[in-house]
């Protein structure tokens, strides 16, 4: 299909065009990048909600109910479900839809499964770009689900407006170890599968763990017990999400967050462009026993960029 035709189909709200545009952007094809430029100023300010947590805690099942809730409230709901790609084969098994059956009851929901792939900018660039396509399509809310391990924790925080961290009763004992990652990024915490033993204790653990980092005048971060399979407290969770959204808007924090995001996007793209454009130099490098710093310096000199040693100190 021609790009012009695709573009007009997209603007007319055709889902097939949205799906293809996401593919073009995800593959970083020239038309995809072109679209991102044209689309940028036309986007809607969709509220982006991240849902993350360790594997197997029930993120997709919770999302299934949240999709239903928001689909009844809003006109257009977008979902991005991210699963890891194999670093060895490049393949990915995307199984999040398995749990999202309620979406099929709602015509206004659009779900896209995304493989993390090995893109240079990391997960954040591709998810950011796909979110922008969905915003161009006029989504009221975009729900982004990802497994919260390693670097992706930070990524999800940076590309979304608010984050729900999902844990299970058994997570309690390991929270101490998680402190440096997951525990710092949540705007809302959920103990899912709370019909199982130890859920109250887990809530206490999380609350006490969060109390250490709470600053004065800051609101207390909600910790909610849910059970996706019993549909327990889904409405409470949804209400807390809306409350959080309201607070973020009223305090101006949402605006600030989005401003910060713009700077990061430019940096990510620059990094990506830079590495791509010096790739040939990297490949032609002589295999001499020289420090990587010296090699990097040599390549940089070829590009004409002046890097002085005192820049190392600057942050």
């Amino acid at each position: 299909m021609k790009y012009e035709e695709l573009f007009s189909d997209f603007n007319r709200g055709k889902k097939t065009a949205l799906a293809r545009m996401i593919t073009l952007v995800d593959n970083e094809e020239p038309e995809g990048i072109e679209f991102l430029k044209e689309n940028y100023s036309k986007r809607k300010d969709s509220f982006r909600l991240g849902i993350t947590g360790p594997p197997g805690v029930g993120k997709s099942s919770l999302l299934n109910h949240l999709i239903d809730y928001f689909a009844k409230k809003y006109e257009k709901v977008g979902v991005i479900a991210i699963d890891p790609s194999s670093p060895f084969t490049g393949g990915a098994l995307l199984g999040d839809r398995l749990r999202m059956n309620r979406a099929y009851e709602n015509e206004n929901v659009f779900i896209r499964s995304v493989a993390s792939r090995g893109s240079l900018g990391g997960l954040s660039t591709s998810t950011e770009n796909i979110s922008q396509v969905m915003e161009g399509f006029g989504m009221d809310i975009i729900l982004i689900e990802t497994v919260g391990v390693g670097q992706s924790e930070l990524d999800i925080m940076e590309i979304t407006d608010a984050v729900v961290v999902v844990l299970v009763p058994e997570s309690g004992d390991s929270i101490q170890a998680m402190k440096a990652g997951l525990m710092e990024i949540g705007d809302i915490f959920v103990v899912n599968k709370s019909d199982r033993e130890g859920s109250d204790r887990a809530v206490e653990f999380i609350k006490s763990s969060l109390s250490f980092k709470k600053k004065e005048n800051e609101r207390e971060i909600p910790v909610i017990k849910t059970s996706a399979s019993n549909e327990y407290n889904i409405d409470i969770l949804a209400m807390q999400i809306e409350e959080t959204q309201k607070l973020l808007i009223e305090s101006g924090a949402l605006k600030q967050k989005r401003e910060n995001r713009k700077e990061k996007e430019v940096k990510d793209i620059l990094r990506d462009m830079f590495i791509k454009s010096i790739d040939k130099h990297l490949k032609n490098m002589e295999n001499i026993n020289e420090s990587p710093y010296e090699k990097a310096n040599k390549i940089l000199q070829k590009t004409g960029i002046n890097f002085t040693e005192d820049l190392w100190k600057k942050r």
């Binding site: 995307l94 839809r97 896209r112």
Partner: protein, 134 residues
């Protein structure tokens, strides 16, 4: 970024034998494809909606219930209605060879029976992709 082959592996209808579909989904993943697996009891409508949203190149249907003569044509018809005629429909299960032939005539791709090597399925899809997608 290289183009990834995106495949939807779905299990339509009422039979609950999903082992084959799971094995194929895993094998295609190992072959470097991005596989969307949606599980049991999918209706043709759900399958087509998923295929559209996920913008897949290939749909693989596993049918062991004997309903293949109604499911495959129905999926094709719904796709046509949405203007998505460039997707390869393939699959497998317990399908008699004369039915396979008839489905092939309708535009369904190769269908695989019991005993097929999973690598054969992957090769077929890679081959189709290289010929039909630039």
């Amino acid at each position: 970024m290289e183009k990834k082959i995106r495949v939807l592996v779905a299990k339509p209808g009422l039979d609950g034998h999903d082992r084959g579909a799971k094995v194929i989904a895993a094998a295609l993943t190992d072959a470097g494809m991005e596989v969307i697996y949606t599980g049991l009891h999918q209706t043709p409508e759900k399958i087509v909606r998923t295929a559209i949203e996920e913008d897949v190149d290939v749909i693989g249907l596993s049918v062991l219930s004997g309903a293949h003569m109604s499911i495959f044509p129905k999926v094709m018809e719904l796709l046509k209605k949405e203007g998505k005629t460039d997707i390869l429909i393939t699959g497998g299960g317990i399908i008699p060879s004369e039915d396979m032939e008839e489905l092939n005539k309708l535009g369904v791709g190769k269908l695989f029976g019991p005993g097929t090597k999973s690598s054969e399925v992957a090769e077929y899809i890679v081959d189709w992709h290289s010929k039909n997608r630039k």
